[in-house]
């Protein structure tokens, strides 16, 4: 399975505006990279490009297994999580139903969803409709799928922004675990993450 991401000479544009060009980044097993940069520098776009939702103007994103280059579409379908500002949770549905859907859609099992619920202490939220949750509670429900369906590459966009200090610590521990198991994290952040990261500036 995927144990490296190589971004080479990447250039992104939004409309007519060039965000950045000549961007290089290598990410290996157990590594976390924090993408920093001003608002609008292109951090979110970079994550979406790695996920395959945006086509780069130039350059390549390659997924590696040792020296072998993997089929990008395959990796994107089975090997990565993208968690952005919009969590994809349907406001009219119960938190548990949505959590189970997201977990099963990303390849996890019902049992895994249940254990993620215990782990993240989501029990009391599960019977509520998504629209009744606060921003932080919503984020916790969305983060649960990272735990419940194991995928090696996490692409996170401001994952901690709405979370309180205690929840940040809990999720920090989960991230360390993910890295210790050979996972990779690429996160766009403004505040430092509670784990050891390498900082890379976007759009400098």
């Amino acid at each position: 399975m995927i144990d490296g991401v190589s971004i080479e000479d990447l250039a992104l544009t939004r409309g007519d505006r060039a965000l950045f060009s000549g961007f290089d980044l290598k990410l290996g097993r157990g590594e976390a990279v924090a993408l920093v940069g001003a608002n609008g520098a292109g951090k979110t776009s970079l994550l979406r490009c790695v996920a395959g939702l945006l086509r780069p103007a130039a350059g390549k994103v390659r997924f590696l297994d040792g020296q072998i280059e993997l089929e990008a579409a395959d990796v994107r379908a089975h090997g990565l999580h993208l968690l952005g500002h919009h969590d994809g949770l349907k406001s009219a549905r119960k938190a548990w139903d949505e959590l189970v859907f997201q977990v099963r859609w990303t390849g996890g099992t019902l049992a895994a969803a249940e254990s993620a619920r215990e782990r993240l202490k989501l029990g009391p939220l599960c019977d509520l409709e998504i629209r009744k949750l606060s921003a932080g509670q919503r984020r916790r429900v969305a983060l649960a799928r990272l735990v419940a369906s194991p995928r090696p590459l996490w692409l996170l966009d401001e994952p901690f922004a709405p979370l309180d200090a205690e929840r940040r610590a809990v999720f920090g521990a989960l991230m360390s675990e993910h890295l210790a198991g050979g996972g990779m994290i690429l996160a766009a952040v403004h505040d430092p993450l509670p784990i050891k990261t390498r900082q890379v500036e976007v759009g400098a």
Partner: protein, 222 residues
């Protein structure tokens, strides 16, 4: 497939529950068929002449009503991103969404269509034929409508845009469907070919529609 079965269950739940579900379309259908006699006059012979055609137009409009939000909700809350990089190709996702749409609103409307037509004084022996054509036509409506819904993603006033894109495409199933019923009513042999054309139209759009929708969705989220 695990993922797709989870998706179809979620889509059905959303189509049944969210935003009024089939009830909205059915109420709209009932309202149009009630307004017609008030506008045209309640004379039975006059109503009987237009009953099946009117039911078909009402059917097309009612389907349109629920199509608007088919992709819009997923686009707004980011679920479309999740669906686009999931285990199944986006084409399959679009297919499942339209299929769920057809089951949740097309099926109830197909049951309502003969009732509406009978209320407008259509001959009762036409009821099964109206049901069958509405069911097949509804499949075509869902998959053509899905194209319009995907194309209008991200535009303001998407609902009006969907109508402008989709209604011209509804011309063919209305001609074939209403034509088949008309021929059947006057005991002409042509009704079979009308039904065949309607089926061909629906199946064609069921087959090619998801590719258009997926392309339009990819364009919208990039």
């Amino acid at each position: 497939m695990n993922g797709l079965s989870a998706l179809i269950r979620r889509e059905l739940a959303l189509a049944w529950g969210g935003g009024g579900g089939p009830l909205l379309g059915l109420t709209f259908f009932a309202t149009i068929t009630t307004l017609l006699p008030l506008a045209i006059g309640a004379e039975p012979s006059r109503l009987a002449a237009i009953a099946t055609g009117a039911a078909w137009v009402a059917l097309a409009l009612s389907t349109l009503l629920s199509l608007e939000r088919l992709f819009e909700r997923d686009y707004e809350d980011g679920a479309l991103d999740l669906l686009a990089i999931g285990p199944a190709p986006l084409e399959a996702v679009c297919f499942v969404k339209c299929l769920a749409q057809w089951i949740a609103t097309g099926l109830p409307l197909a049951i309502a269509a003969p009732i509406g037509a009978l209320a407008l004084n259509a001959p009762s022996e036409l009821a099964p034929m109206i049901f069958v054509t509405a069911l097949i036509g509804g499949l075509g409506f869902s998959f053509t409508g899905g194209i319009g819904a995907a194309l209008s993603l991200g535009s303001r006033r998407g609902g009006v845009l969907v109508a402008v894109i989709v209604l011209p495409l509804f011309v063919f199933p209305i001609i074939f469907g209403a034509g088949a019923i008309e021929a059947y009513a006057s005991h002409l042999m042509g009704w079979k070919s009308g039904l065949a054309f309607l089926g061909a139209y629906s199946l064609t759009f069921t087959a090619i529609g998801p590719f258009f929708m997926a392309a339009a969705c990819r364009n919208a989220i990039s």
